[in-house]
Amino acid sequence: MPRKSYRQAINEALFQEMRRDPRVVVMGEDIAGGMGAAGEQDAWGGPFRTSKGLLAEFGRERVLDTPITESAFIGAAVGAAATGLRPVAELMFVDFMGVCFDQIFNQAAKFRYMFGGKATTPVVIRTSYGAGRSSASQHSQSLYPIFTHIPGLKVVIPSSAYDVKGLLIQAIRDDDPVVFFEHRAMYDDEDEVPDAPYTIPFGEANLVREGGDATIIAIGRMVTFAKKAADELAKSGIDCTIVDPRTLSPLDEDTIIEAVEETGRLIIVDESSPRCNLATDISALVTEKAFAALKAPTRMITPPHSPVPYAPELERAYIPSVERIVAAVRESVAYKR
């Protein structure tokens, strides 16, 4: 099977869904570039090169460069979705949510409910998140817990090129608003990705590996760190289960609970700020539903409660590391009451 990057997998999903369904349009800042000007068009294929080539095949009617006004174009995408299109809007950095959040949480998330089930809002908001590129504190955040908090939004956070394609196609076909988180440091990560279109259902966690000693639940890019940690731990005979929820809303609670019940030890790895994040949420879930299974305190591996630093050394210290995961698993396994 062909190996493709996370970036290629996203690009392929967009191509295939736009070919399949004429209602699918893409919009965002500089996603093709050159709109309204005489110079080169689609030179970069978008800020992360995920929309490369779409303009040539689908034209300006379906590939829309927007002004640098998230409040306007996210609102336009939500409205277009409510009136019959299936827009995929690119919010370049999730850090920009602040200027378009009403359109997302008070409009898109509420239409189905407020109109008594008579309206659907099939919009996908693709957005980038995460630290690791020295982009400083206003372009490095992992703000997915905020969206997970809002009923009416679906929140997707793929951790591999295989998953990103199947989940993006599923997101585009879904009739509800989906916020789709792509880690900025993962666009070059490769995986085996089928050429044909496929979908991965929401609310189905990926059981990345199975081991009897401890359960690591990891979110987004942290899944790749958890895999490295598990490889390291296996050398000393500690076998880990890794659960990748893949979608934060809906959340596959059953798989999480079952995995914890099998091992009795839980380590959660979450790149978002530590207060009210997915680690605290999952920890609370396990405490409520699987308390008796726990053999050791739940460990949460997160950054400190601080803005993301710009200096590379500080940024490295900020991001949860493989070493911290390994140490937390060892402590959990060694824990005695």
């Binding site: 089928p194 279109p197 496929y198 979908t199 259902p201 798989t255």
Partner: protein
């Protein structure tokens, strides 16, 4: 390499296997083993299977004990002639224990490719050289279901395994979706791959399809092996068929796949995931529904070919797992005397996985009878 000392290495079953765990040694250290003898159980994330000795001799040293892991191609034991001194064995183990026999070459040769068959793109993989053998999987399966058979048969044959239309990574157009349409697709695959006369082995729906091809074009088939085959009786477990089509999640698929085996614990997470990866592709659900509606209309097998078995002139054998819950093993009863029947204990519908070494021996023996 000293031919008097022979390595036993971790096998590579299927493209995705990178390491295995020794689940248990079936032969004692110091014991004499014969080629083909089952010597060790290997557990992978996909399934557990037994490894047969490729060579005979004394099992001198177990390098990887029960419960320990090794990479594919890594040394797990040493077999030698009885008179090789112990210190020579020690030196051999020391020299080779951390080395990995490069499995990359085989993996590349084994990498499946696509071939145009009429309007369809069909995926197939080949392994080995010699008289061609073609392996045809069953409903919902793929060429990966022959992971324990294709490498073993490839020692003496060019072994082809394909994804039928609607399956694996082949095109999802299935036409009528009945047994004759798959027999026709097989014929067109043989033409496209320039295969004139082949040893044909089919499992379940693939068995009925192979049988249909052999009846209509006997000149293309040197020998025919029908494994847990459809086409020999009316019964089919429709709960399995419907459950397989409906399952989109791991937890739904696991119990469905467990029905395929006598020993349900054999079904691992990776087997479920690799089948779900094929099932998630666009068009699969419609294709499987079309096949179920045509081949198993009204909950019964639509086409029964058992009366026509006597018309076949090539060697024919029928292989079944006695504990088959999908197509009952009694369909192997009362067949014409020209057909050799082998019902294997301790195996379910996936008898070619569960009793791989026995099935491989039967397939190889039939191919030898009709060169």
């Amino acid at each position: 390499m000293n031919a008097r000392i022979r390595p036993v290495v971790m096998p590579k079953w299927g493209m995705t296997m990178t390491e295995g765990t020794v689940a248990g040694w079936l032969a004692p250290e110091g014991g004499t083993i014969a080629p083909g003898q089952e010597i060790v159980e290997i557990e992978t994330t996909k399934i557990t299977n037994v490894l047969e000795a490729a060579v005979g001799g004394v099992l001198r040293r177990i390098v990887v004990p029960t419960g320990a892991r090794a990479p594919t191609g890594g040394l797990i034991a040493v077999v030698s002639d009885a008179d090789v001194p112990d210190d020579e064995i020690d030196r051999y183990v020391e020299a080779h224990k951390s080395e990995v026999v490069e499995a990359g070459e085989t993996a590349r040769a084994d990498a499946p490719r696509m071939i145009a068959v009429g309007d369809l793109e069909i995926r197939y993989g080949t392994l080995g050289e010699g008289p061609p053998v073609v392996l045809v999987h069953g409903f919902g399966g793929s060429l990966e279901s022959w992971m324990f058979n294709q490498p073993a048969l490839a020692e003496r044959n060019a072994v082809y395994a394909l994804d039928l239309p609607g399956h694996g990574e082949s095109s999802k157009t299935v036409g009528a979706g009945d047994v004759p349409s798959f027999g026709d697709a097989l014929l067109r695959f043989l033409d496209a791959a320039s295969l004139d006369r082949v040893h044909l082995a089919g499992h379940s729906l693939g068995g009925a399809s192979a049988l249909a091809l052999a009846l209509d074009h006997p000149g293309r088939v040197r020998s025919l092996s029908l494994i847990g085959s459809a086409g020999l009786g009316f019964e089919i477990d429709m709960d399995y068929i419907r459950g397989f089509i409906a399952a989109t999640r791991r937890k739904e698929m696991m119990p469905v796949l467990q029905r395929l085996f006598a020993d349900e614990s054999l079904v691992g997470r990776d087997m479920v995931e690799s089948i779900l990866r094929h099932k998630r592709l666009d068009g699969v659900e419609a294709a499987l529904n079309a096949i179920a509606g045509a081949a198993f209309a009204g909950g019964r097998q639509a086409l029964i070919l058992r009366e026509r078995l006597r018309d076949l002139r090539m060697p024919v054998q029928v292989i079944w797992g006695r504990a088959d819950r999908i197509v009952p093993a009694r369909h192997a009863e009362g067949l014409p005397s020209s057909v050799a029947v082998h019902v294997l204990d301790g195996a379910g519908h996936m008898v070619h996985m569960e009793k791989a070494s026995a099935v491989n021996a039967l397939l190889a023996a039939l191919a030898d009878r009709a060169p």
